[in-house]
Amino acid sequence: MAKSSVAAIDWITVLLFLLLVGFGWGNIYSASYENQVFSFTDLSEVYVKQGYWILLSIVLIIITQAIEVKFYERFAGLIYVISILSLLGLFVFGKNVNGATSWYGFGPVGLQPSEFAKSCTALALAKYLSDMQTNIKLLSYQVRAFVIIVLPAVVIIPQPDPGSALIYAAFFFPLYREGLAAIYLIVGASAAVLFIFTLLFSPIFVVVSVFLFMIGFLIARTSFMNKERKSRIYLVLGIFITILILSYSILNTLETYKTLTIINIAILTSLITALGTFIGLFTHRKLSDRQKPQYFRFILIFLTITSFCFSVNYIFNNIFEQRHRDRFNLVLGKEVDTKGIGYNTNQSEIAIGSGGWTGKGFKEGTQTKGGFVPEQQTDYIFSTVGEEWGFLGATMIIILFVLLLIRLIHLAERQKTQFSRVYGYSVIGILFIHFAINIGMVTGLMPTIGIPLPFFSYGGSGLWGFTILLFIFIKLDSNRVNEW
């Protein structure tokens, strides 16, 4: 280990890491302690175990810092293969815990290889993208990168652990940074929006809306084909404003005639059309070079969306299991159930909500003590923060995470090698997805997807996985001075 690289360690990141781990441990202690007397050795206490995991992770940190940077780059492929094998090995040697075969059992302790596979995949992707030949703007390379990312996810899904598989969406971050076309982002975002709307309403509704939107868009677009643009602008604006006023006035009278769905539909359709027109107008400048709107392309997009909506509907109703449907329906507000399927989320919201401004104080959370929130020391640890530390404490944790992520973007951007940068963005993506999904779930904004909060949730494999993930990047970053 070069002396200079120790000095070059980004201590801000390390400090943020230590804060999160320390605070996380305190909350695990509060959420899980059984005996009033504090113990260092009673391994039946969850917080004692987590304490040892934390101590052992220091060893891991030292190891990651001791290894030459070149090692990571050179053996990335091998590490990746080993991790895939370890995931596959679960099907033979795995231990079933809570219905998922995600663990290797070593006596009392278990290891969850999927927690480490993330780092391995990040290394492999970094290695692949940093290859001189790889051009992510070309489809064939995109496909190969995609395979590298999706392979572990595919192996993890049948464990079954769809939550952990979902994390691999995180690699969108490095791909996007390295120049993946924005269209993927647009398509992805549109797909998500369409997915939610299809579930909320019905596929026919969404398809009709999309159709109307496109009509509006086309009206706006065609109006720029001709030379007399200015007059057309006024015409379209006139139509647009008329529709707006009409829909607004109808909406006003509608208050008393809520049963008249025809009027409802009329307003909705005109609004959607108006939205299409508006966006068509708004974006025209960029695309005005085009001589002609490509009708064929519009039809193609429309057909794709139609088939997407109907297949979403089909998959949701026929392939998803009821528990998955329930989770989505709860978040979408289509079902209200605080006793059965909505119990976790409801209890978590109660615990957080009862915290108020400053919370009930360390070890004073009544919901936490009463064990009302299931899995509170693991996936729902943030509800303890909310209850015992209140709005201020919970906000502080969110700020810490945001700071860490921003700091990591800063670090990634200052990397001199593509390998380090891709790896850095992978770390950012993975941490971000965990952070977003976990807190979204605990605060009732997202469906229940059981993944831990990085550095916070109880669990040795998780903690080690995140520690290794982060500290490999810190090592890479500290070594940037030695490059070139």
């Binding site: 996007y176 009544t366 009463g370 709005f391 969110i398 979204g440």
Partner: protein, 623 residues
């Protein structure tokens, strides 16, 4: 550009989360209370209600354990309903109904299924309890009455009603509260303060220890014991004498204002309103609308005071200096006034009379004369009446006495306003003669028995009285309430009382109560015979006169002042006078020598008299 988008995504997510936290933790307050409901169980520790003693330290009211059968519907297992019902002596329908009600109320919170078991039922059920899962027995404290008397004074306790729970957060549904009498008046002293324990619950609703190590818990404060001014022996004797009659007796100690006895008749035994039998008994008492046993006649019945009121008029006459003790007034079987020779009748006695024999013989003409002079001393009858009214009110008439029993009536003392309204002044004028009935305690004057007793006490004290009160000591410490320890002074000078008292003394020695003397006790009293009316089928009908008597004894250093009111008791000395006489003898001598008189009272019932107006047949009065 691309870097910016990633920043944006991260920061936006953070902002959305903070907004969501703000919504959950600050904006929407319902989660906080949900959490309290969820995780904290509040248990109340009820203190023993204070005991009540009489003035001689005799225990009147204490507590007895009572046992409620409780159910937690969720923990219910199938059980032998037939056996359960037969042990508790309830019908199966009732059991099913109460179980349903309990389940609707809450499946996990205990509800009462059968309240207030007797000791025997409890003992029997206790053995079988293990067979009935989901049921358990909860101990409660009930009142235990050591006396059969004074129900009107002691009052009773019952479950607090919804309206009061809303007003006073101390009380919770199912709590017991004093509803009448001393129990109500001294509720705060008697009940003590209940203790609160907060228990942290887990998600299975199990107790896992005190909340915040008991930081918010409080210990119960025991209720205080009360000592009443009541002499339970005298009270019992009064109630015995009043059996089969309607009316009230109020006995005061003039030197302190302490209520020695407060009898109302008919009444009920206090134990009737305890425990499971409370509800049916209470209904029975409430629905007795003729005898109205729940109505405390001693405190609340407003009667025309009749002749005892003449003593007040005599005092006012002397104070206003419109008559002296020597001047005689002639009486020709009544007092004639007005242009058409109206007459205020009187009975036959020698004439003319001055003040002392005037009182002794209760001469209507004498007091009509005095009263008229009092009113006509002033330029207008309005001024005259108001001046007279002021004197009368200084005896505690016409307003609440301010005693420490939660019920009472103001009575009535007319003022110029009363008559202005009545005679539509100034359209029509009115004069002293129009109010002449006031001179003999009829007319517009109304008083409750306790007010009459208070007047008597004021006369006995020669010009002042202490507000009557029932409380003597709280937790053994004598009361210090200035309302009861500082005398109220009347507007009559002390020297004017002696002739009036002498007149009252002669009532016994040679006047209307001469047959009721008690050997060795110098009693001063005044009989009264009050006309009264009721409405039968909308028609004003006169009923048999009320029998009224006030007295105090002995003449010097009086120990007792008494007012007795017997509804439709013919005339003053027939019932009320006899009762007063026996009560005085009982209180001062401690025993009764005139057993024939006592026997006469115990055997004479007025029930027939009370039934008359409701018989539907024509009836004669005063026979």
């Amino acid at each position: 550009m691309r870097k910016l988008l990633l920043y944006l995504i991260i920061v936006t997510t953070g902002v959305v989360f903070v907004a969501r936290l703000f919504y959950l933790q600050i904006y929407n307050t319902s989660f906080a209370s949900l959490s309290e409901d969820n995780a904290i169980k509040v248990i109340y520790d009820y203190p023993q209600r204070g005991a009540i003693y009489d003035r001689n330290g005799r225990l009147l009211v204490t507590n007895q354990p009572s046992y409620d059968v409780m159910v937690i519907p969720r923990e219910l297992k199938p059980f032998d309903t037939l056996e359960f019902c037969s042990i508790l002596n309830i019908s199966k329908d009732k059991l099913i109904k109460s179980l349903r009600k309990a389940r609707v109320y809450s499946p996990r919170v205990p509800s009462i299924i059968v309240p207030q078991l007797t000791k025997d039922e409890y003992a029997y059920l206790q053995e079988k309890m293990r067979k009935f899962e989901g049921f358990y027995i909860q101990k409660r404290s009930l009142r235990d009455y050591q006396t059969e008397n004074a129900a009107n004074v002691l009052g009773y306790i019952g479950e607090v009603n919804e309206a009061l729970i809303q007003r006073n957060p101390y009380y919770l549904s199912g709590d017991l509260i004093g509803i009448d009498g001393v129990e109500k008046q001294y509720e705060k002293e008697l009940r003590g303060v209940k203790g609160v324990k907060r228990i942290q619950k887990d998600r299975f609703n199990r107790d896992i220890g005190p909340y915040k190590n008991g930081k918010f818990d409080t210990l119960p404060v025991n209720g205080k014991d009360l000592t009443l001014t009541l002499d339970s022996k005298l009270q019992a004797y009064g109630q015995k004498l009043m059996e089969n009659k309607r009316g009230g007796i109020v006995v005061l100690e003039p030197s302190t204002g302490e209520i020695l006895a407060l009898v109302t008749a008919p009444t009920y035994k206090p134990e009737l309103l305890v425990g499971r039998k409370r509800s049916p008994n209470f209904t029975k008492l409430v629905y007795d609308t003729l005898a109205i046993p729940l109505f405390d006649r001693g405190l609340k019945a407003e009667y025309p005071p009749g002749s005892p009121f003449k003593t007040i008029n005599a005092l006012i006459g002397l104070q206003e200096n419109v008559i002296d003790t020597k001047e005689s007034v002639s009486c020709r079987m009544g007092y004639y006034y007005g242009k058409r020779g109206k007459k205020l009748g009187c009975h036959s006695h020698r004439s003319p009379l001055n003040m002392i024999p005037g009182i002794a013989n209760s001469c209507n003409a004498y007091f009509a004369t005095v009263y008229r002079r009092v009113i006509e001393k002033y330029d207008t009858p309005q001024e005259g009446i108001d001046n007279w009214s002021k004197h009368v009110q200084s005896f505690g008439l016409g307003n609440y006495l301010g005693n420490d029993l939660p019920e009472g009536k103001r009575g009535k003392v007319p003022t110029s306003k009363t008559y202005n309204r009545m005679y539509q002044y100034p359209t029509y004028k009115w004069y002293a003669s129009a109010t002449l009935s006031n001179s003999i305690g009829q007319g517009e004057v109304l008083a409750t028995p306790i007010q009459l007793a208070n007047i008597t006490a004021a006369i006995a004290n020669r010009g002042y009285y202490y507000t009557p009160h029932i409380i003597k000591a709280i937790d053994g410490r004598p009361i210090e309430n200035e309302n009861y320890t500082i005398p109220k002074i009347t507007t009559i000078d002390k020297e004017h009382f002696e002739p009036v008292i002498e007149g009252m003394h002669q009532v016994y020695t040679q006047g209307t109560a001469s047959s009721l003397q008690v050997e060795g006790i110098e009693i001063c009293g005044k009989t009264g015979t009050a006309e009264n009316f009721t409405k039968i089928d909308g028609k004003k009908t006169q009923l048999t006169d009320h029998s009224v008597f006030v007295a105090f004894a002995p003449k010097t250093n009086p120990k007792i002042a008494i007012a007795v009111f017997v509804e439709n008791g013919y005339w003053g000395s027939r019932y009320a006078g006899k009762i007063a006489s026996l009560m005085i003898e009982q209180h001062i001598n401690g025993s009764i020598t005139r057993t024939d008189l006592e026997k006469w009272l115990l055997t004479h019932s007025l029930e027939e008299e009370y039934a008359k107006p409701y018989s539907g047949e024509p009836f004669k009065i005063n026979q």
